[in-house]
């Protein structure tokens, strides 16, 4: 039909008529180019609404380190000891971070500068995540093509370009490890599956370097180093051992392990940590398999080989178990760390590690979070698993395993929906592509039949071949209707993703927005106001005490030393700050003197109704402080198990430092029409203690909407 239309074109244009293969190539390349641009653009909502700034808390640390890297060079960065955080302990930055993200951004910055684009490093940092998300779509296309066919690859690229589960952590401004790490994860998996499919040493080498990039980028590399051995084990059990698998896994494991040891933060964990032992065990098991295979080939005798097999397997298993037991008992192999153990046993963190349990993104996942982040992909995922099971091969077994393990972990922790997103997109793409292919085949077979009538086939025998024609009644119409339905579902997916990105995941969190009573948007920029006040009005060696959430932002924007920050590596130090916040003012003053604190910063939402403030987080301060200092008891702050701040609150609560600092002079303020002064809009009550007098601190600064309040610690009196 297309060729018939082209007959009517004038002669010069007819030379542009493409053959089908070229048409297909053009279509594919242009679709991928559009998907690439789409993946970049859809993440730019917050840049257009607010400005090009770094979001959240963790990205501020990454930004500060990248700034340091570009200013001082790689050697200084690798050996950097940061004295501005965790006063008085300091932090060895070079050995406690994953450098992949910073090095990538610095390289991009250098490259752009070399092309004489005079960009600021902050712009590069803000746009690194969308750029790598766009690259991920290309890798997803290649991976889909490897597993199924190029149609599934294109659908996978399109799905992952707008999948909200991925967008949530790779939006512009979210300069965090995951933005780069998901690209590295998918790249490593793609290269490894390609290596297993081809058996080529070159692809295995490439996958080892992909793994190295992943290790340098994110702590989630543990997922790769455990999934690949599990995959090899499944292949061995299902009888798919082959030379290709042997070459791919050996090369990738040995080289990948050696490369991973170059990252100081990882160090020797690949041979010392319990989380990495599965890979080593499977490595040795693979050697045993290869050895048995070789002996079988040499022996040519089934009975002898059977006895040899039994003996070898017994010996191998015994020796392996013995080595593991000796290593664990002697302490050389460290047990699973709490962070990863809580993935296997989700109840562990709640009882033992309150810091991990308190973070909202570590909570288990409810169905609505899945729906929010995946929508119709949740329907396509089981269908895609079915298609993979129909056509089992090395590659489809891998994607099934990746999908299942990552979905389980996503169920345990909300944050890990990000890791599951590429697998879900790929498997759903297989289902979508196969279903649409079925439907279009049903439509097209009708047009090949010689008795082509308006829509009905006779449904019994085809005269041409003499075979029984099992085609369905109204096949043509039904298939067209179902195809339109499929396109409708995909369009609803696109609408959902755009809405979710725009409304839920594009908030910078450091700038708050609200809707005014006339419908206009009101912006609260209190955080940056406070940090810049600190930067401009405090002495350069001032030390700021605040809860650990704000540490990175204070060091990055306020440029001052903090006591604790988001790295949370020292629980006792955080507990000291928690104890200070929950004690009476005189006890807290002693603690602050011992830590050399000059200023205290608290976040208070009672005036604006901002509910993520320090009074709502206060019970966590009590719990963490009480976990180390038994003098702090949580029941002291509760009344009948209830947490209150009004007149009926516990006396310890009404007089602790956090209460005083948050509600100082708040009793004079009318916040809402018709309510008494001192009405807390978050808790919804009038506060109990309005007449607050501070003895050892004085108010230094309160932002325009009272969200951030800064107090200066007075020096000790000259006369006692």
């Amino acid at each position: 039909m297309a060729t018939a239309a082209l007959e009517f074109l004038p002669a010069p244009l007819r030379s542009f008529r493409l053959k089908t293969k070229q048409q297909e190539l053009l279509l594919r390349v242009s679709t991928l180019a559009l998907i690439y641009v789409l993946a970049f653009i859809v993440r730019l909502f917050s840049v257009l609404r607010y400005e090009s700034m770094i979001h959240e808390f963790d990205p501020y640390f990454n930004y500060r380190t990248t700034l340091f890297l570009t200013e001082n060079g790689y050697s200084e960065f690798w050996n950097w000891f940061d004295f501005e955080s965790w006063y008085p302990l300091g932090r060895v930055v070079g050995g406690t971070l994953f450098p992949g993200l910073m090095v990538t951004a610095a390289l991009l910055y250098r490259f752009l500068r070399a092309l004489s684009f005079a960009v600021h490093i902050r712009e590069v940092c803000v746009l690194t995540a969308p750029f790598f998300a766009a690259n991920t779509t290309l890798v997803a296309y290649a991976f889909g093509r490897e597993i199924w066919d190029s149609g599934a690859g294109i659908v996978a690229a399109a799905l992952i370009a707008i999948c909200p589960g991925y967008i949530s952590r790779s939006v512009a401004g979210s300069y965090d490890n995951e933005g780069v790490a998901i690209f590295a994860l998918l790249l490593t998996f793609y290269l490894f599956v390609r290596a297993v499919n081809t058996g080529s040493l070159a692809w295995s080498l490439a996958s080892a370097f992909g793994y190295f990039y992943m290790v340098s980028a994110w702590g989630g590399y543990v997922f790769i180093i455990n999934l690949l051995p599990l995959y090899v084990l499944v292949l061995l059990v299902t009888g798919r051992y082959s030379m290709r698998l042997y070459v791919a896994y050996n090369c990738m494991y040995v080289l990948g392990m050696l490369l991973a040891m170059q990252i100081r933060f990882v160090g020797f964990q690949h041979v010392q940590s319990g989380e990495h032992m599965a890979a080593m065990g499977v490595f040795f098991l693979l050697q045993v398999f290869f050895f048995l295979d070789w002996v079988k080939y040499m022996l040519n005798d089934a009975r002898l080989f059977k006895s040899f097999l039994r003996i070898t397997l017994t010996c191998a298993i015994t020796v392996g178990t013995l080595a593991l037991v000796v290593g664990t008992a002697s302490g050389y192999i460290s047990p699973w760390t709490g962070r990863f153990y809580s993935l296997l046993d989700p109840t562990y963190a709640k009882d033992h590690i309150p810091i991990i349990a308190s973070v909202s993104e570590h909570q288990p996942t409810a169905w609505s979070s899945f729906m929010f982040d995946f929508q119709i992909l949740l329907f396509l995922f089981p269908a895609g698993l079915y298609f993979c099971f129909k056509r089992l091969s090395d590659a489809t077994i891998f994607i099934v395993m990746y999908g299942l393990t990552s979905m389980y972990f996503a169920g345990v922790m909300v944050r890990l929906i990000l890791v599951a997103a590429p697998a879900v997109c790929l498997i759903s793409a297989i289902a979508a592509s196969a279903t649409i292919k079925n439907l279009t085949t049903l439509i097209r077979t009708k047009s090949k039949s010689p008795q082509a009538s308006s829509g009905k086939t006779t449904g019994s025998k085809a005269a041409a071949k003499g075979a029984v024609d099992q085609s369905l009644p109204f096949q043509h119409n039904a298939a067209i209707a179902l195809l339109l339905g499929a396109f409708y579902l995909l369009s609803r997916y696109a609408i959902h993703c755009t809405w979710v990105t725009s409304e839920a995941y594009s908030s910078p969190s450091i700038v708050l927005a609200a809707r005014g009573h006339n419908g206009g948007r009101v912006i609260f920029d209190d955080y940056r106001e406070a940090y810049y006040w600190l930067r401009q009005n405090t002495p350069p060696d001032a030390k700021i005490m605040s809860w650990w959430d704000y540490g990175y932002q204070i060091t990055a924007m306020g440029n001052r030393t903090v006591i604790v920050d988001n790295n949370t590596w020292n629980n006792t130090h955080i507990a000291t700050v928690g104890r200070a916040m929950s004690s009476y003012e005189d006890e807290a003053y002693e603690i602050m003197q011992s830590l050399d604190v000059n200023y205290v910063l608290v976040v208070f939402g009672g005036v604006t109704g901002y509910s993520s403030d320090d009074i709502n987080k206060f019970l966590w301060m009590v719990r963490i402080g009480g976990g180390v200092f038994p003098v702090i008891k949580e029941p002291d702050y509760l009344v009948n198990g209830e947490y209150r701040v009004d007149k009926g609150a516990a006396p310890k609560m009404l007089n602790c430092l956090m209460y005083k600092l948050c509600y100082y002079r708040f009793g004079e303020l009318t916040t809402e029409y018709g309510k008494p002064p001192g009405y807390d809009r978050v808790r919804g009550v009038e506060i109990g203690n309005k007449d607050i007098k501070l003895e050892y601190l004085e108010e230094a600064f309160t932002t325009s909407n009272w969200i951030v309040r800064i107090y200066k610690v007075k020096p000790p009196k000259n006369r006692s």
């Binding site: 959240e56 808390f57 949530s168 059990v237 050697q287 002996v295 002898l304 039994r310 191998a316 020796v319 080595a323 989700p346 109840t347 973070v359 909202s360 288990p364 409810a366 169905w367 609505s368 979070s369 729906m371 329907f379 089981p382 269908a383 698993l385 298609f387 099934v400 389980y408 169920g411 289902a431 279903t435 079925n438 439907l439 099992q470 085609s471 369905l472 179902l482 339905g485 579902l489 609408i495 959902h496 839920a504 908030s507 969190s509 927005a513 609200a514 809707r515 005014g516 009573h517 988001n566 005036v607 604006t608 509910s611 993520s612 709502n616 966590w620 809402e672 029409y673 809009r681 909407n705």
Partner: protein, 224 residues
């Protein structure tokens, strides 16, 4: 360590096999000097034990479709928020008191938060997702040319109906759960314990809602 002992065990077994083979008269010469040493030194008087280890012969791998049905059940469990149910232990269904009559009404969907659920709402939503998946599988089974026509028609019809129902119900559920779904309004603070919608306020602050959804990285207060 392990490969070397494997090698020793292997050569010991090879030596035993060679001894047995020679007893049976088959040629088993080797150019391996270690093999000959071992044949003489320990294994002229040592005999490897006859181990009676045997896997049961009827142990076979399950068929792919069996595994798939087990996986579908696991998927149902995970996507209904089973881990959430086990850890947070929400009630099976919530309750609210009607302010006018004082009667207690059941509340099926936990309001105010994206990441929270009651047990029954989780299970029903998970069932809808699995129903949609099964519908698409039925559509693929209907496209198979080798089945009888009536079976294909019923599969196709059932598959289409299943997908339509599952999608409609899932959309309904999410609309009930998140009232502002697909409206061009910023969402209220969904991950904190309270929905902080502010009232209109004429005196100094003119705002009606804080649009801040700190889904990640932020230490929001968790209600227990």
């Amino acid at each position: 360590m392990a490969p070397r002992s494997d090698h020793a065990a292997g050569s010991a077994a090879a030596a035993a096999a060679a001894a047995a083979a020679q007893a049976h008269g088959s040629e088993f010469d080797s150019i391996d000097p270690l093999f000959h040493v071992l044949r003489v030194l320990p294994f002229s008087f040592l005999r490897p034990p006859r181990t009676r280890l045997k896997l049961p012969s009827n142990l076979a791998l399950p068929s792919p479709m069996t595994v798939f049905s087990l996986i579908l059940l696991t998927y149902f469990a995970v996507v209904s928020g089973l881990v959430y149910d086990v850890i947070v232990e929400p009630p099976g269904i919530g309750s609210a008191q009607d302010p006018a009559t004082g009667a207690v009404r059941p509340v099926v969907f936990l309001p105010g938060r994206v990441n929270g659920q009651y047990i029954i709402e989780g299970l029903s939503s998970g069932f809808m997702f699995v129903l949609g998946g099964v519908g698409i599988i039925l559509l693929d089974l209907a496209a198979d040319r080798n089945r009888p026509r009536s079976v294909r028609v019923s599969f196709g019809g059932a598959g289409a109906v299943a997908v339509v129902i599952a999608y409609a119900m899932a959309m309904l559920f999410i609309r009930i759960k998140i009232p502002g779904y697909l409206w061009p309004d910023p969402l209220p603070d969904l991950s904190a314990s309270r929905v902080s919608i502010l009232d209109m306020f004429p005196i100094t602050w003119h705002y009606t809602g804080v649009c801040n959804v700190p889904i990640r990285g932020d230490n929001s207060f968790i209600t227990e």
